[in-house]
């Protein structure tokens, strides 16, 4: 099971822990709880449910046909609850490798690019981060914004803030290093 697939499965198990739901309801509650996540396709809900049913983590719990198409409700099984508990209590290991496109690009910009290119890139990157931060902050400050939305916005804002601080610190650090190196060179 891929790691994103695993996350989706466990979120669906978590939603079913509150009571049986059919696919369409699950898709709606997923979007409600994780409103800023990449949207979950209906197809993915059904394939995930099928896999969970195959593994005995959920079971069909009756059908419903109210004018529309036939819908199967699913309920979480004892095994499903145990699996959910295991997932919830397992500590997410902090990422073992320090990597990311932003990190890679800034490092390459600093050592490989000519100054004008590096500067233009860094300034544009900062502007893009700042603009996004402002946009998300405005959405967060809107009194109509729901709690689950605010939680997701906080996550994004905090990460943008961390990127911006890191960018600033990196430039200051490189500068201090450069100055120190030249002071050393310059003194007899």
């Amino acid at each position: 099971m891929s790691s994103t697939g695993s996350v989706t499965s466990h979120v669906l198990l978590g939603l079913l822990a509150g009571g049986p739901q059919h696919g369409y309801e699950l898709k709606k509650s997923y979007d409600e709880h994780l409103p800023r996540a990449r949207p979950l396709a209906f197809g993915q809900v059904y394939t995930t449910l099928a896999r969970l049913a195959r593994d005995g983590l959920v079971a069909p719990a009756g059908q419903e046909q109210a004018g529309g198409p036939e819908r199967t409700s699913y309920t979480i099984t004892e095994d499903g609850l145990a699996g959910l508990r295991t997932w919830l209590t397992a500590v997410e290991p902090p990422a073992p490798y320090i990597a990311g496109t932003l990190l890679a690009k800034v490092v390459v910009a600093l050592f490989a690019a000519d100054a004008a290119t590096a500067r233009d890139y860094l300034v544009a990157q900062r502007a893009a981060h700042t603009a996004r931060l402002r946009e998300l902050t405005a959405q967060k400050a809107d009194p109509a914004t729901a709690l689950s939305d605010i939680v997701a916005l906080d996550f994004a804002i905090t990460h943008l803030d961390a990127d911006l601080r890191w960018l600033r610190t990196t430039l200051d650090r490189v500068a201090a290093h450069t100055v120190a190196a030249h002071t050393k060179e310059g003194s007899p």
Binding site: A109, L110, F111, A112, A113, D114, A115, A116, A118, R119, L122, V123, R126, A127, T130, L133, R134, L136, T137, A141, I157, T158, L160, D161, L164, R165, L167, R168, L171, D172, R173, V174, A175, A176, H177, T178, V179, A181, H182, E185
Partner: protein, 270 residues
């Protein structure tokens, strides 16, 4: 059409031999919320004090609604601050011996309002900031976030055209700070108040419509200390040298200090 509320023209201000502002030019529109950002010591508080008429610049002009205010007498500037400008600091501006309502009523009483009217207006502002239930409490009985909302009520009670806020959430935890900023921005937008928000925190700056970054006493349009490095100057990230040289090296000495043998190496150091 938008009208300019505040303008700085070539503002220079030093503390003894140490320059804090080295020629700041900016214009802020009516109703605009601007974040003045930059590392500590970049001159942002000095700029705020000059714009608010608290400090006099050594050179340059401060123009408020088309009128020069840096040349006004202390009494005239003080009157302006009482009537048209509001100021919110990080902490410590409430009178600890007075209740929340009395603190908020104070500027109105100083402006000659009747005691009854001042109290009624103060209470309505406390309500708008969600701290109406604390009207008769002393500041010492309240949390930092509640105190700061009361201070904000006091800054806004005279319905100033411009609100100056210097790190208004610097002493608060994230959620309390968020509440203060949420109220500040909402009320400013409702009242059409111009806001000059000084902060070093990108998350706080996120509440503003626009950012003015300062660096070593000058406006830094790049926000990263690259100002002054000519475009395509072909210098190493002596770029970096400019950003970090601080006050000791005048401005971005930049690539000029970078080893000439590595002109294309942006790090400028091996």
């Amino acid at each position: 059409m938008t009208t300019v509320s505040l303008e700085a023209r070539g503002l220079v201000r030093s503390y003894g031999a140490i320059p804090a502002l080295r020629g700041v030019n900016l214009a802020i529109d009516e109703g605009e919320i601007v974040a003045v950002t930059g590392p500590s010591g970049c001159g942002k508080s000095t700029l705020l004090h000059c714009l608010a008429g608290i400090l006099r610049p050594d050179a340059g002009e401060v123009v408020y609604r088309g009128r020069r205010i840096d040349t006004l007498s202390e009494a005239e500037r003080s009157r302006l601050r009482r009537t048209e400008l509001g100021v919110l600091f990080q902490f410590g501006q409430l009178v600890m011996e007075l209740s929340a309502a009395e603190n908020v009523a104070l500027p109105l009483l100083l402006a000659g309002a009747s005691r009854r009217r001042a109290r009624a207006t103060a209470l309505s502002w406390l309500e708008r900031l969600g701290v109406g239930q604390f009207a008769d409490k002393l500041p010492g009985q309240l949390s930092g976030g509640q105190q700061q909302r009361i201070a904000l009520a006091r800054a806004l009670v005279t319905e100033p055209r411009v609100l100056f806020a210097d790190e208004p959430t610097g002493a608060l935890d994230t959620l309390a700070g968020e509440q203060v900023l949420g109220h500040l921005v909402r009320l400013a937008n409702e009242q059409g108040t111009t806001v000059v928000l000084v902060t070093h925190d990108p998350r706080v700056a996120g509440y503003a419509h626009r950012e003015i970054a300062l660096r070593d006493g000058e406006v830094d349009p790049t926000g990263l200390g690259f100002a002054g490095v000519g475009a395509g100057a072909g210098v190493g990230i002596g770029i970096g040298a400019g950003a970090g040289a601080g006050k000791t090296a005048a401005g971005p000495v930049a690539g000029t200090t970078t080893s000439p043998t590595t002109p294309s190496n942006a790090l400028g150091a091996r």
